[in-house]
């Protein structure tokens, strides 16, 4: 305690010495003028590093793993087996079934969502009282977690006490309750219905954004030329909406193709394998059957198909900016 008074003197001097050195250093940094490209490198480096670790390295590792056996099992001992995992994958009937389920699910639900979403976007693309309630109505399904959505609809579709059954019976569509999720023909249809319910809202939101960016004067000009509403839609709205439609399609097709939560929570991939999508199948062989090589092969196939779909969309729908 007694020493404390004595030691403050030199201590403070030392600290203030550090401070001034620090300040001088800071001054130097403040004067430092990075060139634009140096600054860009500095700002982009963390993102690129992140993307490398979390996106590119894993993809390459998955491809590597698909050519090996015993991959990621505790010892990580593995042997190169060439395309054997792919051979086993392609010999598995369940794989082809899952591929078919995923393609059906994706290429039925996405077009339906696009058409319904466009209709809703056109409906909501004007000023009216209660617009915000309507927007909340389309935001709500979008924000709902997929797995919780699956749980909700599993109850609504319940084979005995489901409200869907009740409504259909009351409307006279069916005579008695039907277990939609327990029959292979209707389970996939129900799953498509559920995803359309949820994601049409997202489609509508994106398209609404695109619609609001079309300048009004184009419609005025079209009206002056005596164009009907249909002609206005076909000749003004649709062409100018094309880039937005492309964005919306990519935003929806890729997630639909990778559906996991919905089949997991709605009917668990069943009955049988009627709603087993590709990712559900790949997840199952990887983490339940612990066949990591084959799982990696399935993941690689999924990657190539997803990239193929993206490429297809971009090449068929992309147009250099017209305006």
């Amino acid at each position: 305690m007694a020493n404390r008074g004595e030691s403050t003197g030199p201590g403070t001097a030392r600290i203030s010495g550090y401070r001034s050195a620090l300040r001088a250093r800071l001054e130097r940094y403040r004067d430092l003028r990075l060139s634009e490209s140096e600054l860009a490198t500095l700002l982009l480096a963390p993102v690129l590093a992140f993307l490398f670790v979390v996106s590119f390295y894993p993809i390459l590792d998955t491809v590597w793993g698909s050519l090996h056996t015993g991959y990621i099992l505790p010892t990580r001992e593995s042997a190169f087996v060439g395309l054997e995992n792919y051979a086993r994958l392609f010999a598995d009937g369940s794989f082809w079934n899952a591929l078919q389920v995923s393609l059906l699910y994706t290429f039925i639900s996405v077009p339906v969502e696009l058409v319904l979403g466009l209709a809703i976007a056109l409906l909501l693309n004007r000023q009216f009282k209660g617009r915000y309630i309507a927007q909340a109505a389309i935001l709500f399904p979008w924000a709902l977690p997929t797995i919780i959505n699956a749980r909700i609809w599993a109850w609504l579709f319940h084979g005995q006490y489901g409200v869907i059954n009740d409504l259909l019976v009351r409307l006279g569509v069916i005579a008695e309750p039907f277990a939609f999720l327990a029959h292979s023909d209707t389970a996939l249809a129900a799953m498509i219905f559920v995803t359309v319910w949820k994601t049409t809202s997202f489609m509508a939101l994106i398209l609404l954004a695109g619609l609001s960016s079309i300048p009004d004067h184009l419609y005025e000009a079209a009206r002056m030329d005596g164009a009907s509403r249909w002609r206005q839609f076909r000749d003004v709205t649709l062409p100018l909406l094309k880039p937005t439609i492309l964005v919306a399609l990519i935003f929806r097709t890729l997630p639909a193709f990778q559906a996991f939560g919905l089949p997991f929570g709605l009917a668990g991939g069943g009955p049988g394998e009627a709603t087993t999508t590709l990712v559900l199948y790949a997840n199952d062989i990887t983490f339940t059957r612990l066949s990591f090589g084959q799982g990696s092969a399935a993941a690689t196939v999924i990657t190539f198909i997803a990239l193929g779909i993206s490429l297809l969309y971009v090449t068929t729908l992309y147009e250099p900016e017209v305006r």
Binding site: L51, T146, R151, V247, A299
Partner: protein, 288 residues
Amino acid sequence: MSVIDRSRFDWKSLQSVGEKLGFYGSVAALCLVSFFPIVWIFLTSIKPASQIVQFPVQYLPTEVTLANYQTAINEAPFFRYLVNSAIVAGGTAIVAVLLGALAGYALSRLEFDYKVPVLLIILFSAMLPFFSRLIPLFQLARQTGLLNDYLGLILPYSAFQLPFAVWIFQAYFKELPDSLEEAGLMDGLSRIGVLFRIILPVSAPAMATAAIIVFIYAWNEFLFALTFMTQDSMRTITVGIALYQGEYTFPWATISAAVFLSIVPLILFMVLFQRKIVEGLTASVGKS
């Protein structure tokens, strides 16, 4: 007289009344279809067990009970799940927004040679399937001790959402006037100074939008949350609800209560930020 009356009959306004009816009718139908499932879940959650298993369905409960909520909360660490989700989603939003803003600034307002390759890399990474990254990342998380750790989800989630965040910021920064930066440079700020003192403070709207959407993504994600969080106490709400099982029969009443409880924060969130989300999506897509 009657002839004159008929000719004066305002068909136009009748037509517009019909149009209005049709319009508001469609909007009402849209709202009904959107909200019906959750209303139904709510109704189920407050019914006594006997009224849930009935056919024809009993629409409104004749007796209201909170027993299902009690069971839901007692049988699983429900609030723990909610807190886990909030930490993961909040952390993801912070990381993705910060890194996304810096990269978005570079891509929209700086000149450099390799801009196109960087844009292509970011676009390409956005198209890669999540599952194809799951196995190596699972292994990586296991080696680095990030399984059952919040960071184990925050890091991959923010990386997955980075392309989107970068895109939002890039669209926003493009619209800012050059004079803003020039004024800062004239005042003796460096480029970095301009970025941190001027650009980032005025980009609060873009930050809010990106943060909200990234937050919702991280809150909702299921595949990684299911795989990376194996301890019950670390589960997020989506996984917690997905794994909710009864001992004998599937407890729909309890699940309905759990589902509805889990959606309450979401509903509050939507009420608070609804305009922000719509405006944000509108702005970013409109400028793409």
